[in-house]
């Protein structure tokens, strides 16, 4: 399935295409965030309960008083339930889980969402989290075209991949000056050389033979010779 994109109009006349994150990436980001908030909430409870009891005891008192509620129960509940709106407001939509999953929240214009949009998508978590484990939200991300949950529909927000790891291949521009090597082939040669050591021997020999002209592969069958010929092809040092 081709990944869908959020296409945003630009003043330049050239559309901006932002690849939309699917249910998998969304769930991955959510799970990381869920773990972080659960750990934070539990850590607070444990530390505060130990301070409250002044002993190695984490059980609630039989007759809980106001300090127990206000300092031991309330803060972890606040951490757990306000984690998403607080982080998203503070970082304009990029929670730690989203950062780690390589996704970010954007508005319909491709920019960071506003306060209203962030609050609205978080209020609708009440609906998306029904009946259990975000079932409604998960189903919504599976059935909607842009893989959004109800909160995103309400707020006009999208989760898109951050392509910060996109790298520019080093092009053999002197080889490209003639017509024997097109850009796609040149990039594949460069990429094969980059991944040479990580590839299985049989696989890299097969790929090298597919890329090199038949006249060159007839004479060379071992790894080193094939690699040398690929390097010559990419740098254009000999033809």
């Amino acid at each position: 399935m081709t990944p869908s994109s959020l296409v945003v109009d630009s003043v330049t006349g050239v559309d901006v295409a932002l690849p939309i994150a699917g249910p998998g990436a969304r769930a991955f980001a959510f799970l990381i965030d869920w773990n972080i908030r659960a750990v934070l909430a539990i850590a607070w409870y444990v530390v505060a309960a130990l301070i409250y009891h002044r002993a190695w005891n984490l059980t609630p008192p039989l007759d809980p008083d106001a300090p127990w509620f206000m300092y031991i129960l309330l803060p972890p509940a606040a951490i757990y339930f306000l984690y998403h709106p607080a982080w998203e407001l503070a970082t304009r939509g990029r929670t730690p889980g989203k950062r780690m999953a390589g996704v970010e929240l954007v508005g319909r214009d491709g920019g960071a969402p506003g306060v209203g949009a962030i609050l609205t998508r978080n209020v609708f978590r009440l609906l998306d989290s029904l009946p259990l484990f975000y079932a409604v939200g998960l189903v919504a991300t599976m059935v909607t075209r842009d893989h959004v949950r109800i909160g995103d529909l309400a707020a006009g927000t999208f989760l898109v991949y951050v392509r910060s790891n996109a790298t520019l291949p080093i092009h053999p521009t002197n080889r490209l000056a003639d017509t024997t090597l097109n850009v796609t082939s040149a990039e594949i040669v460069v990429e094969l050389l980059e991944r040479w050591a990580r590839l299985d021997g049989v696989a890299r020999r097969r790929l090298a033979k597919a890329l090199l002209p038949a006249s060159e592969t007839a004479a060379a069958d071992d790894d080193a010779a094939l690699r040398a010929r690929l390097e010559r092809l990419s740098t254009g040092s000999a033809s």
């Binding site: 630009s10 050239v14 009440l126 309400a154 850009v183």
Partner: protein, 337 residues
């Protein structure tokens, strides 16, 4: 992909600009992380954006299935996001929301507020009439503990502060009320039916409990308990219901827009009122925790507090608290003083 010498030359020319792309990406990343005080830097960013747009367009046609195009797409998208990042002025945004936007939303939602309030009052009357005629039906609306307490001739709120401290009570109550209010708004997504259900159920329950306490001679006590916080709490229930009803109607009758777009517009617009509702419920929760269950506070101060907080709510919703005093008859933006 074509291998013609002309296209190969065009590709080569494009690839020779790679140093410019790297510079643009570097600048974009730097400006995405922090603001710049140098106007020339910002101007160069705009130039980079145009350069990347031009080269993305060329790459899409000359080398569509290449890593170079992917790199350019990513660089262009990041430049777009950085350049279109709106200014972040939370203080001004909050003032604008409270002074201008919420009063505008209230005016837009006026018909919905009237209908939601009417529905709520009708369900209160229905609940009252039902339990008055068939007292056993109270079991549908109230817990066995509440029923037993009233049958003993005692309101369940008596001695509440001996069991739960005011601070705890306030937080519990306001959390519950905020969740109900937000649900009434969100449930509008079910074509308004969820909102109607929550509004109707709350109205029936209120009416039923008043009838039941009345049957046991405790209606005055219940009124004394409710009046300080209830004026705003019940009003907020109707306001949240109105916001949810607007969301529901946007889905039922989207008008010229698509259903999704209509839903988004209604949710974003009416959501602003829900934010005001949440703020008001925090105050109501504090009153309900500290004032309402306190037996030492007589009726008239409770009434005063209830009326004063209700007037505060009106002032908030009209924007008067934040300098909005006049609106033109045509509904144009107000004149700020």
């Amino acid at each position: 992909m074509s291998h013609s010498p002309r296209e190969q030359t065009l590709r080569l020319t494009l690839l020779q600009r790679s140093a410019l792309w790297k510079e643009a990406v570097e600048r974009t990343r730097r400006l995405a992380r922090k603001r710049t005080a140098d106007p020339a830097d910002a101007a160069r960013m705009a130039d980079d954006y145009r350069l990347l747009a031009h080269d993305v367009a060329r790459a899409r046609s000359l080398m569509p299935e290449t890593r170079t195009r992917e790199y350019l797409e990513a660089a262009y998208a990041q430049a777009h996001t950085t350049l279109h990042r709106a200014a972040w002025h939370p203080g001004y945004a909050l003032l604008h929301l409270l002074r201008d936007e919420i009063p505008g939303v209230v005016a837009w939602l006026r018909p919905y507020i009237i209908w939601a309030t009417t529905l709520f009052l009708l369900t209160v009357a229905a609940g009252y009439a039902l339990v008055r005629a068939y007292p056993d039906l109270i079991a549908l609306f109230a817990s066995p503990d509440l029923i037993a307490s009233v049958e003993r001739g005692q309101l369940w709120t008596e001695g509440l502060l001996n069991i739960v401290p005011s601070s705890v009570l306030s937080v519990q109550i306001l959390t519950n009320n905020v969740v109900v209010s937000l649900f009434a708004y969100c449930a509008g997504f079910l074509f308004g039916l969820g909102t109607l259900y929550i509004l109707g159920l709350n109205g029936l329950t209120l009416g039923a409990i008043f009838a039941f306490t009345g049957l046991h001679g405790l209606a005055d006590d219940l009124f004394a308990f409710v009046v300080a916080h209830g004026c705003v709490e019940i009003s907020v229930m109707c306001l949240s219901g109105a916001a949810g009803a607007a969301v529901g109607e946007a889905l039922i009758r989207p008008g010229a827009a698509t259903r999704t777009e209509s839903f988004r517009l209604a949710a974003m617009r009416s959501g602003k009122l829900v934010l005001a509702c949440v703020l008001l419920l925090i105050g109501a929760g504090v009153i309900e925790g500290y004032v309402s269950p306190n037996p030492d506070i007589p009726l008239w101060p409770r009434v005063m507090i209830g009326v004063a907080y209700w007037l505060f709510m009106i002032a908030l919703l009209r924007g008067w608290l934040f300098g909005r005093f006049r609106t033109s008859a045509a509904g144009t933006p107000p004149v700020d003083h």
